[in-house]
């Protein structure tokens, strides 16, 4: 077992100039064979491995990562966590995740800095109001904390918002989920990696998947840049690259991979103490513990794997930010970047087995995957271990695109999460 992290371990190590800290995780060469292999070392993949080992006592597991763990969308998103979704299926899925978030730092003995500073969604037109109220009522009946705020209450909760009735799209109210908030994205990947590793999971970085070997309608193993790995169960959690992996087994998915951009300002002293999202005017913002304003932009309309997007998207987002927060006009953009998000037609994820035996996919999270990380990992682990979905992810199967039984969250996803 790893040495426990605490203020005391810090003091102890201070005396040895921190020379004696253990590795957070090993750096093993792949074995010949595993009981299950997870493709993709992001938050979702590492969490999947962690729960396979923890809850389903599968210890002989590997996580294959093309680059470095947490280097994809896990390390590129704006870290918003909430569960105030419209449909029962989504609410169930995301609130399952939120409940795990609430105890995650202790569970992993790694501070993921989950801070429940609340997430507020603003309404700017009458249909917004209808949709958000519909969501608020649904959430309440689903046992999810969500309250409707009128314009004054919005102003009270976040005073720097421009709630003047004279702006182009005045704030007509909003819905607030207090349990929601943000977390430290890197820590989530590193915490799960450390936890999984300590249970024997092999985390293999700089190992790219080149092909998937099949025997008839079931999988046999994986061709990688570090050689062939035998396994009967493969869980694909490759986000933007899901279609690339699917192609290896001639599988087509209902996905499009698009650039999603985000940016941060220079750090300043605390100025906004919650997360505010606005679909109608395409703006959402929070402030990191370091003091940077964290701002999410939208996706581009075209497929791209470049991790770059067009400048217009960034300009449009900041335009909206200044409409709602004119005080930020002299703030400066420090850094902008892009991620590749895989988007489903109904803006809901896929956590499902496939017609190929032993091949499972966890994808289609679009712009909202980070918040689901623990729940997604837990449910995907369950699906892989039992070859059956958990009731919470039953509705998120691939077959829904054939039957037409979609979980349409466009309302909730109009901009991004």
């Amino acid at each position: 077992m790893k040495n426990k992290y605490s203020i005391f371990s810090l003091i102890k190590n201070a005396f040895s100039y921190h020379e004696n800290w253990q590795r957070a995780w090993r750096d093993p060469e792949p074995k010949k064979e595993y009981d299950a292999v997870i493709i993709g070392g992001g938050g979702h993949g590492l969490a999947t491995a962690y729960y396979l080992a923890k809850k389903h006592s599968m210890k002989n597991i590997a996580v294959l990562e093309k680059g470095w763990i947490g280097g994809g969308n896990t390390g590129r998103n704006t870290t918003i966590i909430r569960s105030n979704y419209l449909w029962d299926a989504s609410a169930g899925l995301y609130d399952h995740a939120l409940k795990i978030w609430e105890g995650l730092s202790q569970e992993l003995n790694y501070n993921v800095m989950f801070s429940q500073r609340g997430v507020m969604n603003l309404a700017h037109n009458l249909q917004d109001v209808r949709d958000l109220k519909r969501r608020t009522h649904a959430n309440r009946l689903n046992g999810i904390d969500a309250v409707w705020l009128n314009t004054n209450e919005v102003k009270k909760f976040c005073p720097i918002i421009n709630t003047s009735p004279n702006i182009r799209y005045p704030v007509l109210g909003g819905t607030l989920q207090r349990r929601a908030g943000t977390a430290r994205h890197d820590a989530v990947a590193w915490g799960y990696a450390r936890g999984a590793d300590s249970m024997g999971v092999d985390i293999i970085q700089n190992c790219e998947v080149k092909g998937i070997k099949r025997n008839g309608d079931s999988v046999e193993g994986i061709e990688t840049t570090k050689g062939f790995i035998k396994t009967k169960k493969i869980g694909v959690v490759a986000a933007g690259h899901s279609s690339v992996i699917a192609k290896m087994v001639d599988l087509k998915l209902p996905l499009e991979s698009k650039p999603l951009q985000a940016l941060v300002s220079e750090p300043v002293k605390p100025i906004i103490d919650t997360v505010v999202m606005s679909n109608a005017v395409h703006a959402y913002v929070s402030q990191s513990d370091k003091g940077e304003l964290v701002i999410g932009a939208g996706t581009d309309a075209y497929v791209s794997y470049t991790q770059r997007g067009s400048h217009d998207v960034v300009e449009g987002t900041l335009k909206a930010i200044l409409e709602l927060y004119p005080i930020f006009s002299r703030m400066k953009m420090l850094r902008q970047w892009g991620g590749i998000v895989d988007i489903c037609p109904d803006a809901s994820p896929i956590i499902s087995k496939t017609h190929i035996k032993g091949l499972y996919f966890n994808c289609g999270w679009g712009t909202g995957g980070f918040k689901a990380t623990p729940g997604s990992g837990d449910l995907f682990a369950h699906t892989i271990a039992n070859n059956e979905p958990h009731k919470l992810n039953a509705d998120f199967n691939i077959n829904r695109f054939v039957s037409g039984d979609l979980v349409d969250e466009h309302g909730a996803a109009a901009v991004a999460h």
Partner: protein, 1001 residues
């Protein structure tokens, strides 16, 4: 300002015009042309800020955009203050007010400095390892973490400044006006290429501009003299545009670049008034020449962060350009030749140079000999192992280096100094090149990353391309420019160039100390307080990749984006991990190159220009008549017309009643209108609507429902057959644009064989809708010669007519269930016709009504509003509109999807009516519907989509979608609210006039 720190130097700053400014409340003086940094140094102020984590005293370290320490808050006006501004980039102006950041109560006495004492307890990423107990306490810990983090203060009032954008298309863009950039720009422009040269400084010339050293001469004059003549010659070139104070912020693919031009930041407060502060240039260049130069590296050794420790080349600029001495007794510490240039400049200006500490073995390049000639003491193969002085360096400890350079040997000795110049060699500015997607290669000889492959039309020249010697800079630049622009320019062929050449290089990423590493503080990222020790800790803990180390230690994450720290971080990682630099790769430099003001990115599109406002031709009348407006897409639509102190509810009740009792009028001009012509027009409509069109008679109107290919309702509206091959289609206000492009898409890609032309005429016509029992009487007054008999002009038909000789189309269609007409007339007469109808209607109390009343009236009749009663998951069957799906038609958009296993289920959510037990109780739109009250969680069967109090039925009515609703008519249901539960009954969707008698009333 303390006299003895200024030497007379009128070349670049005007020492006759004194400028007063305030720093940390103290009034100080500088000269026109100073930066805040040079002025502070002239006032002998080095301590200007505190570091991010340990709150260590920090001073000015550079003279440019890579400055990590000297970042200040400018201004104290709540709306105009600006955080995190580099003192090295602020041009001094009369009335400038600046203050230190991240310190309390003051930069001299900062309580936060206790962190430095606790620093052994808080190594890199300590926060991941603690603050976990008790669980509920994180937010409390976090509160204090957040307070101590952050640097400057955000403004708290809206910005008063203006910002602007310009698009610019040029043949050649040259980035950087140093010696190679100037050669490039001149060459390009001389060859009739329209050329743009930008430089972030206020003067062209780069560092050569103030190079007055015997060792660097061109044609027997100082290189600076030669360059000045070149710069003067630029003014004669027609197609060359020069922009100074302009920083290239982002280099995107397709040679699309963003540059920020600073227009007023250097002006006095009064001069700034009503001018554009910054302009963002959106540049599209056929070819790009990057000549951004190189920046000097620091050296990494114990306590290398004290105020007074400055990059050697910056000390040179401060003395040679600004005429400012950074100290009286200056020591220099270097691993290369350039520190000797500084030594010579200082010596010339009468500053004592204690010594040059050089980690190399003795070398005798021209410049070194020159220094020796001046009697400057040099310690070969020595290193600085420590520095002293809390708020300003006062002495350094020096030791000899072992042969392998891994440790120090011999006896430690000290040297007093008030300033230490450090030089760790040079890093080419390849940031823009990598931003553009270019790949780098590592050069072991100089330990630098250099531009390698690029997809774009671009080259890098000069020291940003790895040329560091004056002669090779000129020679190679000219060659690459000629090849790149494919021209033959010989102007620079026969220059006579004298320059000192560096004969020997030695690079040690982390210099050894006599103390164990763990006990030392060799800073890498000065702003974020991450040290070489932190990087090694990260590696020990298994963080291999540079990105991991960067994120774990926050190295390179400061406002300088690691311009100074990245190379050493990479070096130390490579050394420790035992891999070659090249293989390790570099971190990606992301835009912007230097932080870019939000306002600049947004430009003038703020306030009233945040988004487009669309107005109908009748808009002014609505304004004159005190209408409240609703935003519908980008349109402003009249929402309701309150009288005196009427509430919205009262106004809507009045309007709704009037419309049914006598007459009402609505501005329907915003509805999308598409003119459809062509011999296949009818067939086209058959394919895009769910119902059949071929049999529609000329002169008749028909309601149509449009689906998405997935079978869900997409848009609806009335389409009228104007002639054999001529229709006019109306769409929803919000859907107009999308419907047209969707239809064009099908025409162009799926059905090119169809002879059909679509033309938007939304803005061509104003639409005045008159409804109510008296609408016929009113219209007959407006158009006397039109036969309005039901026989001649029945419901769902249209007539061509004219009003005062202006042609118009009159449709008899109804969205309210009342007898009603729509007059479509060319927009320019819309307002006039509206007024005419209003006049004619006065005797019938005709009442203008807005969108809210329209919604209420149609709800009484159970007519849907797409987007409100549908949400992209409703099929026509779900809406109980089976009647509109043609059974005969072979195909139409979305038909196949209606027969999927889920869409044929008969217990889907379906549109129904709701009546509350208490007729006064109006349901909330969006409220959920359940069948039992005593379960939690309870299955939600559906929700309320539209809800109003109907003045005409004198009771509350609502539309809703309910699971299996069709079959549940008459059933009791519940609407659970926060504090009560409302009892409702499911009904038919039509509440009023089921027999449609009123249509012909």
């Amino acid at each position: 300002m303390s006299k003895n720190l200024r030497i007379t130097n009128d070349k670049f700053i005007d020492q006759t015009s004194r400028i007063s400014f305030k720093f940390d409340g103290k009034t100080l003086y500088g000269f026109k042309g100073d930066t805040l940094a040079s002025a502070l140094l002239a006032n002998n102020i080095h301590l200007v800020g505190r570091s991010f984590k340990y709150h260590r005293p920090r001073g000015i370290m550079t003279c440019g955009s890579e400055e990590p320490n000297a970042i200040v808050q400018v201004g104290n006006d709540a709306s105009m203050t600006e955080p995190n501004t580099r003192a090295t980039e602020i041009e001094l102006y009369e009335g400038l007010v600046a203050s230190s950041q991240n310190c309390w109560p003051s930069v001299n006495f900062d309580v936060g400095a206790v962190n430095n004492f606790f620093s052994p307890l808080i190594p890199a990423a300590f926060y991941y390892k603690t603050f976990m107990w008790p669980a509920s306490f994180w937010e409390k810990y976090e509160y204090f973490i957040r307070k101590s983090a952050g640097l400057g203060r955000s403004p708290t009032e809206p910005d008063k400044d203006f910002y602007d954008h310009r698009y610019l298309h040029c043949d050649v863009l040259v980035i950087g006006g140093g010696i190679s950039g100037i050669i490039a720009a001149k060459t390009a422009a001389q060859n009739n290429l329209n050329t743009l040269l930008i430089d972030d400084k206020n003067k062209l010339g780069g560092t050569t501009l103030f190079q007055q050293n015997e060792c660097f001469k061109i044609n027997n004059t100082y290189s600076s003299e030669w360059l000045k003549k070149e710069i003067e010659s630029l003014n004669l070139l027609q197609n060359l545009t020069i922009k100074t104070r302009t920083t290239l912020a982002a280099y995107h693919s397709y040679n699309y670049l963003l540059a920020r031009e600073n227009l007023t930041d250097h002006l006095s407060l009064s001069e700034k008034q009503n001018k554009i502060r910054q302009r963002l240039w959106k540049i599209r260049a056929k070819k790009v020449i990057i000549s951004t130069g190189a920046m000097e590296r620091p050296l990494i050794f114990n306590n290398n962060d004290r105020p007074g420790i400055i990059l050697s080349s910056s000390i040179k600029k401060y003395i040679d350009y600004f005429g400012v001495k950074c100290g009286q007794k200056i020591s220099l510490f270097t691993n290369n030749d350039s520190a000797y240039e500084t030594a010579i400049s200082l010596n010339k200006s009468g500053v004592t140079v204690n010594s040059v500490i050089d980690i190399r073995d003795k070398t005798d390049s021209l410049i070194v000999k020159q220094a020796e000639k001046l009697g400057i003491k040099i310690y070969w193969k020595h290193t600085v192992v420590n520095t002293s002085g809390y708020k300003r360096i006062n002495s350094i400890d020096i030791m000899k280096l072992s042969d392998d350079g891994n440790e120090v040997v011999g006896k430690k000795f000290s040297e007093d100094c008030d300033c230490l110049g450090i030089s760790g060699g040079w890093t080419p500015r390849v940031h823009l090149f990598t931003q553009s997607g270019g790949k780098l290669k590592f050069n072991d000889k100089d330990n630098v990353f250099l531009p390698d492959k690029s997809e774009l039309e671009q080259i890098s020249i000069g020291s940003c391309n790895g040329d560091f010697e004056l002669d090779s800079i000129i020679k190679n630049s000219v060659e690459s420019i000629n090849e790149f622009l494919n021209i033959n320019n010989n102007d620079y062929k026969n220059l006579e160039i004298v320059c000192s050449k560096e004969l020997d290089k030695k690079n040690i990423w982390l210099l050894p100390s006599d103390k164990p590493l763990g006990k030392t503080k060799p800073f890498l990222d000065f702003q974020n307080d991450s040290t070489a020790t932190d990087v090694k800790l990260a590696l020990r803990e298994g963080f291999k990749s540079i990105e991991h180390v960067k994120r774990y230690t926050t190295t390179g994450m400061g406002t300088d984006q690691g311009k100074l720290s990245n190379m050493h971080a990479l070096g130390i990682i490579a050394e420790t991990a035992g891999v070659k630099m090249g293989e390790l790769g570099t971190t990606t430099f992301r835009p912007p190159y230097t932080p870019l003001t939000f306002g600049t990115i947004v430009g003038r599109n703020v306030g009233e220009f945040f988004d487009i406002i669309r107005k109908t031709p009748i808009h002014d009348w609505h304004v004159e008549n005190k209408a409240e407006f609703e935003n519908v897409g980008q349109w402003k639509r009249a929402w309701y017309y309150p009288k005196k102190n009427e509430s919205m509810y009262e106004a809507v009740q009045r309007e709704s009643k009037a419309a049914r009792d006598s007459a009402g009028m609505l501005d329907a001009s915003t509805l999308g209108k598409i003119d459809i012509q062509g011999s296949d027009a009818s067939e086209f409509l058959n394919r895009v609507y769910t119902n059949a069109w071929s049999k529609l008679e000329i002169g008749k109107c028909r309601y149509g429902l449009m689906l998405n290919e997935d079978g869900m309702v997409y848009d609806d509206g009335v389409t009228t057959r104007l002639g054999e091959n001529h229709y006019i289609m109306t769409t929803t206000t919000g859907g107009a644009a999308n419907v047209l492009s969707k239809l064009e898409d099908y025409l162009q890609t799926e059905w090119p064989e169809l002879d059909v032309y679509l033309t938007s005429v939304t803005d061509q016509y104003a639409t005045v809708s008159i409804c109510g029992p008296n609408s016929k009487k009113i219209l007959s007054k407006v158009i006397p010669d039109l036969d309005l008999s039901d026989k001649e002009f029945p419901h769902m038909s249209f007539k061509n007519a004219s009003i005062d000789n202006v042609k118009c189309r009159v449709m008899r269609i109804s969205f309210t269930g009342e007898h009603s007409y729509e007059i479509n007339i060319q927009s320019s007469f819309g307002k006039s016709v509206w007024e005419k109808c209003f006049e004619a209607g006065k005797e019938f109390n005709i009442t203008p009504y807005g969108t809210e009343t329209m919604h209420l009236l149609r709800a009484e009749k159970g007519f849907i509003i797409t987007g409100q009663d549908t949400d992209g998951t409703m099929t026509p069957v779900d809406l109980q509109m089976d009647w509109i799906i043609s059974k005969k038609k072979y195909d139409f958009i979305g038909k196949r999807s209606l027969y999927r296993s889920d869409t044929i289920r008969d217990d889907r959510k379906q549109l129904v009516g709701l009546i509350t037990d208490d007729p006064k109780e109006v349901l909330e739109e969006g409220a959920q519907i359940v069948s039992e009250t005593n379960k939690q969680p309870v299955e939600m069967l559906g929700h309320v989509t539209s809800s109003y109090f109907s003045p005409n039925l004198n009771k509350s009515i609502a539309l809703a979608v309910v699971k299996n609703g069709k079959k549940l008519k008459g059933h009791k249901m519940f609407v659970p609210m926060k504090n009560k539960t409302i009892n409702v009954t499911i009904t038919d969707t039509v509440f009023l006039d089921k027999e449609n008698k009123r249509l012909n009333a």
